[in-house]
Amino acid sequence: MSVFVSSIAFGLVAASVLAIASVGFTLQFAVTNVLNLAFAAVMTASAFVAYWFNERGVSIWIATLAAAATGVVLSVFLNRAVYGPFRRRRTTPIGIVIVALGMTLIIEFGTQAIAGPTNVSYRMSQGRTLALGSFRLTLAELAIILLSVVLMLAVHVLIRFTRLGKAMRATASNENLARNSGIRTERIVTITWVISGALCGIAGAVFGMDAGTFGATSTDLFLVLILAAVFLGGPGEPYGAMLGALVIGLGTEISAAVFVSDYKDVIAFVVLLAMLAVRPTGLLGART
């Protein structure tokens, strides 16, 4: 019983990391319809930039800002120099996916070439362990959950209560109509890549903190979890991505506690497939 309760706590931490990444991914997808499979590779590169600052004495929480900046730069570059030109030429979605896979290889192997093959760890203290019975979390894990909650709230406020958010929703809904209504959609797309790039960079640093040890290829499977959370919640739906992350995060850790840990990720995907069989558009996706 105690391991089961502990796994709920662990699942919340896993869900928090996944939520930051999934919301960033789905924002990009919603506004641009680009399945940016290089997202996880950008996370890794950002995590290593945070590591570079952390090794020079900067607190990892401050170095996360550098990771966010890296995510922004790489994401905007991907949009402007890679995906944008292909979109303008009306490349098919599968063509964009192939391009994204190519960029994944370039960024991932480039990171490994620069950072080396050795796995690294951030210099950070986990802090005291706070326990409520078997529900145990360290201060660092609580901080990750809190950061995720703050970012999700920020995304919620942006989407619901700002003009920018309104413009993003309009562009996501119908880009041509939004443009004809006077919205500068190219600018909205760029701003979306900036926001999602920042979330991507922060997700990379938080991923590194959560994993404890990471290398250039550590996010390979994590991308699949991101896709699972996004499509479980409904592609292009930020609130769906948050919910999907919670289901996947809790599902993987609880299944490791209840069943054998070998299959924890498999069970998460079984849940995903079962949900999509019942509701193909995802939990919060619009029914067609």
Binding site: S2, V3, S6, S7, F10, V13, A14, V82, F86, R89, R90, T91, T92, I94, G95, I96, I98, V99, L101, G102, M103, T104, L105, I106, F109, G110, Q112, A113, G116, P117, T118, N119, V120, S121, Q126, T129, R136, T138, F207, D210, A211, G212, T213, F214, G215, A216, T217, S218, T219, D220, L221, F222, E253, A256, A257, V260, S261, D262, K264, D265
Partner: protein, 441 residues
């Protein structure tokens, strides 16, 4: 008819062709990165040793480790005049740690390297897939895998100077039982082929030693956190954890164990794979160097840490310092199985070529055993070369000790117990008596 852009007189390209070109550029970039450190095979008058191992992917630290041994050995051999005037050079072949990538990479190696004299590396990630290919090409290979299938299937050209996983499992349990008198044992091994082969023999051995199997957790090497797995291990109250999980998994799992156990590390016994600079750097950063030094032991084949063989090996290895990327304590290479045994394998092969008066593997293979079991004991290629020129029979004894191949081309020595100091140096706590191993087999 394709659409013609009449304004510019050029044909419009199809976007998805460009998309495929970008993807191809990505693959080429990956290949360029991997081959950046490789030394290209030279033309006639040189011999190539191929390091077939992961250089990218989760086990990317292994290939470069073996390359250090290859460069150290080949440079020392070249200084002594090479093999009948031919200079040795090392070439990296990236298997990405995946059999699906390894087989095409090895086939390409044979297609493009006409002066290939020897293959080294071959980890448990890819050995089962590529050893038959290499053997069919009649090329001698020294491998690092301890997989149990090679204990029973004979590949005439495939040799191992490292212990079978079966033997290492017994050694780990013997250390836990006889050296430390532990009663409750938890197992935590990675879900790759190489690590999982330890589990069955370890369980049988624990039972034989009348110890209790407290927990058996499989660590998904692609997972990023192991909180629940660590919680399950801690909840079983083990005295010790036996483990092998390559890549970032080991550090991530052990740091979770320490953290959830109130900051206290449960003692750990690892395999010989843990005696490597990259493993130490990764895990020490995760749990703390001091914690690791106080709570970690590993089994390893006996390796000389003094004497003429060790002196020559140390000199050769340290000549490579600074040529390899940041790997942590370089001195750990002096006891790392991947460095010691492949260095010995290359020296054995080079001496066999001299003795056979041929660099063709099909010719010199028969001399591998002969140059290990002759009359005059030598500890370096140069000394062996001098003796062979006097028509003496030699017994090469390198830092890995004497070589005696069994019918499956495996040579095992005695096991020793290794630990790390808090500065990352490996210290030998003693040899593992054969009686201990026999008691748990």
């Amino acid at each position: 008819m394709p659409h013609m852009d009449t304004e510019f007189g050029t044909r419009r390209r199809r976007p998805h062709v460009i998309a495929a070109v970008v993807a191809l550029a990505g693959a080429i970039a990956a290949a360029v990165v991997v081959s950046a450190g490789a030394t290209a095979a030279r033309s006639a008058g040189s011999l190539t040793i191929a390091d077939v191992a992961p250089f990218t992917g989760a086990d990317a630290a292994l290939g470069p480790t073996y390359l250090v041994a290859c460069d150290a050995a080949s440079n020392a051999i070249n200084k002594a005049g090479g093999v009948d005037g031919s200079q040795l050079s090392c070439k990296s072949v990236d298997t990405k740690g995946d059999p699906a990538d390894a087989v095409p990479a090895v086939r390409q190696l044979f297609a493009t390297t006409s002066n290939l004299a020897l293959v080294i590396g071959l980890t448990s990630d890819e050995a089962a897939a590529v050893v038959p290919v290499i053997n069919a090409q009649k090329t001698v290979a020294f491998g690092m895998t301890g997989q149990s299938e090679f204990d029973h299937i004979h590949f005439p050209y495939f040799y191992r100077l490292v212990p079978a996983d079966l033997a290492e499992s017994y050694a780990m349990v013997a250390i836990a039982h006889f050296k430390k008198h532990y009663k409750r044992v938890a197992l935590a091994f990675g879900n790759d082929i190489g690590s999982q082969t330890f589990v069955g023999p370890a369980i049988a051995s624990i039972k034989k030693a009348h110890m209790t199997l407290a927990a058996n957790e499989t660590l998904d090497l692609h997972a990023t956190t192991f909180r629940t797995e660590a919680a399950k291990v801690i909840a079983s109250h083990p005295d010790v954890i036996l483990t092998e999980a390559l890549g970032p998994a080991e550090g991530a799992f052990l740091s979770e164990v320490k953290q959830q156990n109130g900051g206290k590390m449960i003692p750990v016994i690892g395999t010989s794979a843990a005696i490597s600079p990259d493993w130490y750097k990764s895990v020490a950063a995760a749990v703390g160097a001091s914690t690791l030094s106080q709570n970690f032991l590993a089994d390893n084949l006996v390796i000389d840490t003094s004497g003429p063989a060790y002196k020559a090996f140390k000199s050769a290895i340290f000549a490579e310092k600074g040529k390899v990327g940041s790997t942590g304590s370089f001195a750990t290479y002096l006891t790392a199985p991947g460095a010691v045994h492949l260095y010995d394998g290359i020296n054995l092969a080079a001496l066999a070529m001299v003795a056979a008066k041929s660099t063709k593997p099909s010719d010199y293979r028969a001399y591998l055993e002969k140059v290990a079991t002759g009359k005059v004991v030598v500890h370096t290629f140069a000394a062996g070369l001098a003796a062979l020129r006097k028509n003496q029979t030699i017994a090469y004894v390198g830092p890995g000790g004497p070589t005696r191949f069994n019918s499956y081309n495996e040579s095992n020595g005695i096991f020793q117990i290794d630990a790390y100091t808090s500065s990352g140096q490996v210290k030998v706590l003693g040899n593992l008596p054969n009686a201990w191993l026999a008691a748990v087999r």
